[in-house]
């Protein structure tokens, strides 16, 4: 049966067909849709949104050790969070097949960095597949479960944003669920309890396994030489292979599908048949360095290929350099087109608290989510953003560093708080750090497309569940000064923020308001601007609401503009009326 599937969909189909029984993930672009598609097979696969990637990985570990096939999925930075269990699980070794899907994000379409996680597979001594389209993703996940069991090794499948979000035709066979019996569980402390005495034994087993994996990679059909003409030979992996086939259609190509460990001897044989060898891979020179280290000469081109996504135009530039062919001629983009950056939605519950933080000149350690958009002008209400949960630790560090500004806040969303903010908050309580931790709680994981979390009251499958209140967590940790606040009442927000920021003790403010996109709420009215009262002072523009647009010019020079409210976008959140000193904004008649 043939279907048009994104790689993310193909992963879910492969897991279903391969008899996977347990799946866990934390959402993160571009991997999020994997678990949403796995949930379509909910009767067959036990699946969940885990609280974070480390927990997801540990669930996969437990399921594998219990003898069933397990799938865990995360974006590249999520694997950082999950590295601790992975680095020891690779010693213990899989029993039921364990496939880890890791989605890298070259060009940082939706990420804070561009780390190439292929290095982590080498570090963890696992197998690593690099699919070039959805069919290969399907085939590699399928093979991954089998190889994981055969070699007792975790298998990583590295997608990228381009493969994850590209749909291609996939043959899913009969489409029926595969019948894979679990492997009976046997208690075996020497195998499954990683203490130093066992770990030393495992260490030798890992090296023995690595020898077997090197034999595997030299024979697998996922690595193959494709014949061609000319003196230039190309080694390519992942989606880069597709660009190579497009731009160098005649060249001999060695396609690397199973790239860790790399098939060095087959590449050596391939290199012997060409005059010059170039390695085309997306991001770090992971393969190139290992091939060179094996004594195989590799051309180092001048054309920059190490940063950002590759594409046919960049490879055409490389071709021009290596073969002297003309570069691709492309029309120049038109100039002077205004940018269209993502912004906080009109009615967003994050806008009011950021406006007040900015007004109170607070030093704000921010975090990862929609609310990171509060760092952009005109709100410009953020000083730092590092990784999931880092807001609190960073704010503690700033306080300890003796920052002159007494008003230091850590800001994060509800899902980020549950993911990795809770431990930071416990540190605040335990070490009595006088900062204010603010959780902007919109009761959903908004940025990745509205996934449930422990604060939303529902599971991945939509079942009713416990709805954890952040304020209860803070109180349970022993923090005395805990408030819940309404994001749309600016005067009350300012009063609470001031009281906490200037209290000289640990404080928590939970600003609670549902995501306007998710719950599609609208106020009872929409606002309009009274052109007689509006003085064109610009205050309402400084809350950065997309519904507030330029109206008629006010002053004779035509430089300052009155505001106007676009009724198509106004939600009636009424923040603008609260910042207008002239009473010019009120509900439309």
């Amino acid at each position: 049966m043939k279907k048009l599937l994104s790689a993310n969909q193909a992963i879910a189909w492969a897991a279903y067909r391969a008899g996977c029984r347990v799946a866990a993930a934390y959402p993160g672009t571009p991997s999020t849709e994997i678990m949403e598609h796995v949930a379509e097979f909910k009767g067959a696969i036990d699946c969940e949104w885990s609280v974070n990637e480390k927990v997801a990985m540990e669930i996969g570990v437990g399921a594998s050790l219990a003898g069933v096939r397990a799938l865990v999925a995360m974006k590249h930075v999520g694997l950082n969070v999950a590295m601790d269990p992975l680095m020891t699980f690779t010693y213990v070794g899989a029993i039921g097949g364990m496939v880890i899907v890791n989605a890298d994000d070259p060009s940082m379409h939706s990420s804070q960095n561009e780390q190439d996680n292929r290095s982590l597979a080498k570090f963890a001594k696992c197998l690593l597949f690099e699919p070039a389209d959805s069919q290969e993703t399907y085939d590699m996940v399928t093979a991954g479960f089998e190889l994981s069991e055969k070699y007792q090794v975790p298998v990583i499948v590295r997608t990228t944003t381009r493969t994850a979000h590209t749909s291609t035709i996939v043959d899913i066979g009969s489409g029926e669920r595969g019948d894979v019996p679990g492997i009976p569980y046997v208690k075996n402390a020497q195998r499954n309890v990683a203490v130093p005495a066992h770990g030393r034994l495992m260490r030798f087993a890992v090296e023995k396994r690595s020898v077997a994996l090197r034999e595997l990679t030299e024979t697998t059909a996922f690595n193959r030489a494709e014949s061609g003409a000319g003196e230039l030979g190309i080694v390519a992996s992942g989606v880069a292979y597709q660009y190579v086939k497009e731009v160098f259609p005649e060249a001999p190509v060695f396609k690397v599908g199973l790239s860790c460990p790399p098939p060095i001897e087959r590449i050596r044989a391939f290199a012997a048949g060409v005059k010059r060898l170039v390695v085309i891979e997306e991001s770090d020179p992971v393969l190139a360095e290992q091939i060179r280290a094996a004594g195989i000469p590799v051309v180092e081109p001048q054309t920059e290929l190490r940063m950002m996504e590759l594409n046919p135009a960049r490879l055409a530039a490389l071709r021009a350099e290596l073969l002297g062919t003309p570069a691709l001629e492309a029309p120049k983009p038109e100039a002077g087109i205004p940018v269209r950056p993502p912004v906080l939605c009109s009615g967003c519950s994050h806008r009011g608290p950021f406006h007040i933080l900015s007004k109170l000149k607070t030093t704000v350690c921010g975090d990862i989510g929609c609310y990171t958009l509060g760092s952009a002008p005109p709100l410009a209400a953020m000083d730092t953003c590092i990784c999931m949960g880092a807001a609190i630790g960073a704010a503690i560090g700033m306080r300890k560093a003796g920052l002159p500004n007494q008003r230091i806040a850590a800001v994060m969303g509800d899902s980020t708080f549950f993911h990795s903010g809770m431990t930071g908050l416990l540190d605040v309580a335990y070490n009595k750090i006088p900062i204010t931790v603010m959780v902007f709680d919109n009761r959903i994981t908004a940025m990745t497309g509205h996934q449930e979390n422990p604060g939303s009251g529902h599971t991945l499958l939509g079942e009713i569940s416990t709805q954890v209140r952040v304020a209860d967590v803070a109180r349970a940790f022993g923090i005395q000064r805990v408030h819940e606040a309404d994001p749309y009442d600016l005067a009350a927000l300012e009063k609470i923020f001031l009281e906490c920021l200037d209290s000289g003790e640990p404080a928590v403010v939970v600003v609670r308001g549902p995501c306007v996109l998710h719950e599609k709420w609208a106020g009872k009215f929409i606002n309009e601007v009274d052109a007689v009262k509006c003085t064109a002072c610009g205050a309402c523009f400084r809350i950065g609401c997309p519904a507030i647009v330029r109206g008629a010019a006010k002053d004779p020079a035509g430089k300052r503009f009155q505001s106007r409210i676009d009724p198509q976008f106004c939600t009636g959140c009424n923040l603008c009326a609260q910042v207008c000193k002239f009473g010019a904004i009120s509900p439309a008649k």
Partner: protein, 196 residues
């Protein structure tokens, strides 16, 4: 009936989050598959729901490798809004058909006064000989629902893509929910007629 193509056919679809671009490119890609062709559909939509630009690219032919269409090689560019048409016009082949929904979604950077609007948008768009403005919004309302404007544009696109009617029909039926199908079939036909 299958379609045969002696080259790769490239379509770029651009616009703003929420305009139905991804559904439109889904139907196009499915129609290509139903026509018996190899197809790749690639999209970048990380933060699209928050008002950003959205781009989706669909390529089909006997065998498609790169999911990305090189700049200047799109056979048809479909823009769901006028400013985005100018932003992405360099994707189109010289002389290619450029189908543009005749409407404006003003970027927030412009409406709030942070950036200047595009100067001479009409004149600059008209400089492209393949430009064809489509009244997709009024046609969608006539068909029964403004939200079907994306399918009006798909209908217009269908006039320039070598698929048989049956492949479009089966793709629409596969991808559009049953209760919205009639409106969308009317919208598709209206779009086709508007450029025919």
């Amino acid at each position: 009936m299958t379609t045969s193509l002696d080259r790769i056919f490239n379509v770029s679809l651009v616009g703003v989050g929420g305009q139905g671009i991804l559904l439109t490119s889904d139907v196009l890609a499915l129609a290509a598959m139903h026509a018996g062709l190899d197809v790749k559909k690639s999209e970048i939509h990380g933060m699209s729901q928050r008002g950003g630009s959205v781009i989706s690219q669909v390529r089909f032919g006997a065998k498609v490798h790169s999911p990305i269409i090189p700049d200047g090689q799109s056979d048809v560019l479909v823009s769901f809004e006028r400013t985005e048409a100018l932003r992405w016009v360099h994707l189109a082949k010289p002389g290619a058909k450029i189908l543009v929904n005749d409407m404006d979604r003003i970027p927030v950077t412009v409406s709030s006064g942070l950036q200047a609007p595009v100067q001479d948008l009409d004149r600059r768009l008209a400089a492209y000989p393949g430009l064809k403005l489509v009244d997709a919004n009024p046609l969608a309302i006539q068909a029964g629902n403004l939200r079907a404007a994306n399918i009006v544009l798909l209908g217009a696109l269908s006039a320039f893509v070598p698929f048989a009617e049956e492949h479009w029909q089966s793709a629409l039926r596969e991808r559009i929910p049953a209760k919205l199908l009639e409106v969308n079939l009317r919208a598709f036909a209206a779009g086709h007629a508007a450029v025919g």
